[in-house]
């Protein structure tokens, strides 16, 4: 270890390895997702079609799952581990446990990935072309669901790892405030535990047994509602680490300090309590859910804008602080004083700018009756390419240019290529997402291989469908080029030699520190309890009503596509294990219950 150097890898060499592994897994998923992205962009817009239209949906499933599950979550477990160890200044409690959850996640996503990619090979009797939402009665191979379960359990254990660190630290520092990065990790983790309950129930109680043939049918509306119980808060699971970077890294690279630590805490508390009871806003146009429930979901969703709007102020004010310390002046002239040539800064700032636009289309999506206009159209695709596809992805790529040297001990391969990469992403996404939004307003559907119909055409008041297609394809090509530059930098850095000139492992200081924050903000139990109550309030009645109407297992509907032969073996294995587990659980209950009653 170099004496002069104070990088993450120098202070936490063992943890740096895990973080590095998580990053590389994330980048591998990003590469796969990117390849599938350009294939579908060119296919959909009819510029270059070389796959069978039916395979488009396998491509789309892979693009979605690899990017929003593997890329984002592997990256965030990396930076969360960094944040915990750095801000508590202590090693993880047991590095073997840390490796264990990483490996569980890796094995899980590999199994799901195999199930998806097998859809390309006709001779393999396995497929999972069910898209990221896996709505029943569309059915995937059981391996897909099993993989997802293992992956999610891996993230649960990761959360436990972070909590263990905090508990141990708290025991040694009983009177100290939770350091802000740790606070952010813990609140996000709690939100994630709550959110994943929905998908866990959907998969373990319904979809997995159904795909194994243990139950005949499922209630499509019920599993769909349980999916969105998880499906909306999952977007905050992607977004919170990006927010964390904007709060604790962006002020530093701007040359300033975080404007307000207390408000940052308020924001994360609001996300903890409001993220989950909102999922029904994805189901505004679902039959079988009363309008009143939809209205409640809308109110919650609208108030969820508050933490994001507060974030906009705090983050911009922190940047302004940096700019003024660097000599910036004027009402808007200070913007020129920001370090725009630094790819870490430029990437995050551009990502934030895109998020401001995404905020607007999100406000439209949150609106209940206006949803008739945009629901399931290309507009929605435009929206989430600005949020997860830019606010999150571009922030992650930008901070990679800071993190990669920290966890490898090697200097970044090229800062100019990095700067070009983040700008190219911004430009590419501007073309693509703008055209997607406009296309959606014409009624062009999302998730459609060839949205060119025989009987009619979409009518554009301004421009034309051809022009929109051209913008989407151009954007897709620019984004692909941007990815190529990103990977060149990642690989170039990995091949670099050891560098002695790395910045210290630090995050931003604060103007208004935790001492200004009321103590109650750190009361995680209280906020979790409120979050649970709100979830119960928002979801009990809709779920009961859905079960009451359609039954727990729903109507008589066949799975689609019809079940496959290779399922038989898995069925046997799971049944066997399940019986054993039930028996032992039964025994446990028999021994415990009398004790409790007594």
């Amino acid at each position: 270890m170099s004496e002069a150097r104070d990088a993450y890898i120098d202070n936490f060499p063992a943890e740096a390895k895990v973080v590095r592994a998580a990053f590389y897994s994330s980048f591998f998923a990003l590469a796969l997702g990117g390849v599938f992205g350009i294939i579908q962009t060119l296919h959909r817009t009819d510029f270059y079609r070389f796959i069978d239209p039916a395979d488009y949906y396998t491509v789309l499933t892979a693009h979605g799952v690899f990017l929003v599950i593997s890329f984002t979550i592997f990256f965030l477990v990396g930076i969360f581990t960094w944040a915990i160890t750095t801000s508590l200044d202590r090693e993880v409690e047991d590095i073997r446990f840390t490796w264990a959850w990483y490996l569980l996640m890796a094995v899980g996503i590999t199994l799901s990935g195999i199930a998806i990619l097998a859809g390309f090979i006709d001779s393999i009797d396995m497929s999972a072309s069910v898209l990221f939402t896996f709505y029943a009665p569309l059915q995937a191979h059981p391996l897909f669901y099993i993989g997802l379960v293992l992956f999610v359990v891996g993230t649960w254990l990761a959360g436990l790892d972070w909590f263990r660190s905090w508990w141990a630290w708290k025991a040694e520092n009983p009177d100290e405030r939770i350091p802000l990065p740790t606070f952010m990790v813990l609140t996000t983790t709690l939100m994630w535990y709550l959110a994943t309950l929905g998908v866990a129930v959907a998969i373990l109680f319904f979809l997995l047994p159904w795909s194994l043939g243990l139950i005949e049918t499922v209630n499509p509306l019920l599993t769909r509602t349980l999916f969105w119980f998880f499906g909306h808060p999952v977007v905050y699971f992607w977004l919170m680490p990006a927010y964390m970077m904007w709060y604790i890294m962006l002020p530093k690279v701007s040359g300033g300090k975080l404007f307000s630590d207390p408000l940052a805490r308020v924001v994360f508390v609001l996300f903890l309590i409001l993220s989950v009871p909102t999922g029904i806003h994805h189901q505004y146009l679902d039959p079988g859910i009363a309008e009143g429930f939809k209205f409640i979901a809308m109110t919650n969703t609208m108030f969820l804008l508050l933490p994001s709007l507060l974030t906009a102020f705090t983050v911009v004010a922190s940047m302004e602080h940096g700019a003024r310390q660097r000599g910036g002046t004027g009402y808007v002239g200070w913007l020129k004083a920001l370090p725009w040539r630094d790819p870490v800064f430029a990437g995050m700032a551009l990502a934030g700018l895109m998020f401001a636009a995404a905020g607007f289309s999100g406000m439209i999506n949150a609106g209940m009756n206006i949803n008739y206009l945009v629901h399931n159209t290309f507009w929605v695709v435009g929206h989430f390419h600005l949020t997860v596809g830019t606010a999150v992805a571009l922030t992650f790529m930008a901070v990679t240019y800071w993190f990669l040297p920290q966890v490898t001990g090697k200097a970044l391969w090229s800062r100019s290529v990095a700067l070009g990469q983040v700008v190219l992403w911004f430009v590419g996404m501007t073309f693509m997402s703008n055209a997607m939004h406009r296309g959606g307003l014409l009624g062009i559907p999302r998730r459609t291989a060839e949205p060119q119909y025989d009987g009619f055409e979409f009518e554009a008041a301004v421009g034309s469908v051809g022009e929109l297609d051209a913008q989407v394809a151009l954007g897709g090509v620019l984004l692909t080029l941007s990815l190529v530059l990103f990977f060149a930098n990642v690989i170039g850095t990995a091949l670099n030699g050891r560098s002695d000139a790395l910045p210290a492992n630090e995050y931003a200081e604060t103007l208004s520190g935790p001492e200004d924050a009321p103590l109650v903000l750190d009361n995680l139990k209280l906020w979790t309890a409120i979050a649970v109550v709100l979830v119960i309030f928002a979801y009990t009645f809709p779920l009961l009503s859905i079960i009451d109407r359609g039954g727990l297992l729903g109507p008589d509907v066949n799975p689609f596509p019809v079940s496959l032969e290779s399922v038989a073996f898995l069925t046997f294995a799971v049944e066997h294990l399940g019986t054993a587990a039930l028996e032992s659980a039964g025994n446990a209950v028999q021994t415990v219950v009398p004790g409790v009653i007594r």
């Binding site: 207390p262 679902d286 209940m368 629901h375 009321p518 509907v557």
Partner: protein, 285 residues
């Protein structure tokens, strides 16, 4: 807690924005009457749609003056009925359900858009003011050929729209001297009685009959035409009811049994004629 004045200003502005958004949506619901697809409809068994009163025969039905109901089934990878035809200046309630997986019923370029979930019925009431032609797409992935799932919605001008259906059964060929029969059935799926005239034109002759078809009923009329009036040869005929037309050709031959021979000897046409005249008649029926 120490919050900067500017940030307090922004906090209030943000809350105003949020409340304003909710107020706009509420205004749309309350003042403009925009209603969400909801849980008004009972659930339905997707496997028993064929026996269902509404979905057994997907169709448009009149339920009141200017009020119609459309029962639509979405299934991989079509909509039934297709096209859906409704009149302008009407109020149409769509009931849409799925036979298999989750689909959507989304009329391109309009705010008519709903998820279609097996077991559930989506109900949407829509007012059509102007005649137009719309495409219908499924915007939820439903399988390998999802992108081919499309339909049409025709809003036809009010005066061109009716729910009348005309069918004619007529002889193709008869023997000279026989009566040609035209069985005309006029179905009126609308609510009101339909008063109209059935017209048969054949050769130079025109037959007319004024009928009244009760709402939801079918009226049958038979025209009988004496073939000797028409004479031998091919006679084009047309049955007209309002804007509906059915047409065909009636061939009057001298003798049905001799048909093949007649074809053989074109030259002897004249002779055959006179032969058949006396021969055929009643026997052949």
């Amino acid at each position: 807690m120490n919050i900067h004045t500017y940030e307090k200003v922004w906090l209030i502005a943000a809350l105003v924005l949020i409340v304003g958004f909710i107020a706009t949506i509420t205004y749309g619901s309350v003042a403009l009457g925009i209603t969400m697809v909801g849980d008004q409809e009972e659930t339905i068994e997707p496997s028993e749609l064929n026996d269902d009163e509404r979905f057994g025969e997907p169709r448009v039905e009149q339920v009141g003056e200017n009020e119609y109901e459309a029962y639509v089934i979405a299934q991989t990878f079509t909509f039934y009925p297709d096209p859906i035809e409704v009149p302008a200046d009407s109020e149409v309630t769509f009931y849409v359900t799925s036979r298999d997986v989750i689909h959507s019923f989304s009329v391109a370029g309009t705010n008519i858009n709903t998820m279609v979930i097996p077991g559930e019925v989506s109900k949407m009431t829509v007012e059509f003011d102007e005649p137009d032609e719309y495409g219908v797409v499924c915007n939820e992935y439903c399988g390998d050929f999802h992108h081919t799932m499309e339909g049409l919605l025709h809003v036809v001008p009010e005066d061109e729209f009716d729910m009348t259906e005309l069918s004619v059964e007529a002889d193709d060929e008869i023997e000279l001297g026989d009566e040609a029969t035209f069985d005309v059935a006029v179905e009126n799926a609308a609510l009101d009685d339909l008063e109209t005239t059935v017209t048969l034109e054949i050769g130079n002759e025109t037959f007319e009959e004024t009928i009244t078809v009760a709402g939801g009923e079918t009226h049958e009329t038979t025209f009988e035409v004496d073939s000797s009036e028409l004479g031998e040869g091919d006679h084009d005929w047309t049955v007209t009811v309002d804007d509906y037309e059915e047409s065909g050709t009636l061939t009057v031959v001298e003798d049905l049994e001799d048909e093949d021979e007649t074809d053989d000897g074109d030259d002897e046409d004249g002779d055959d004629d006179s032969d058949g005249d006396t021969d055929g008649g009643e026997d052949d029926e």
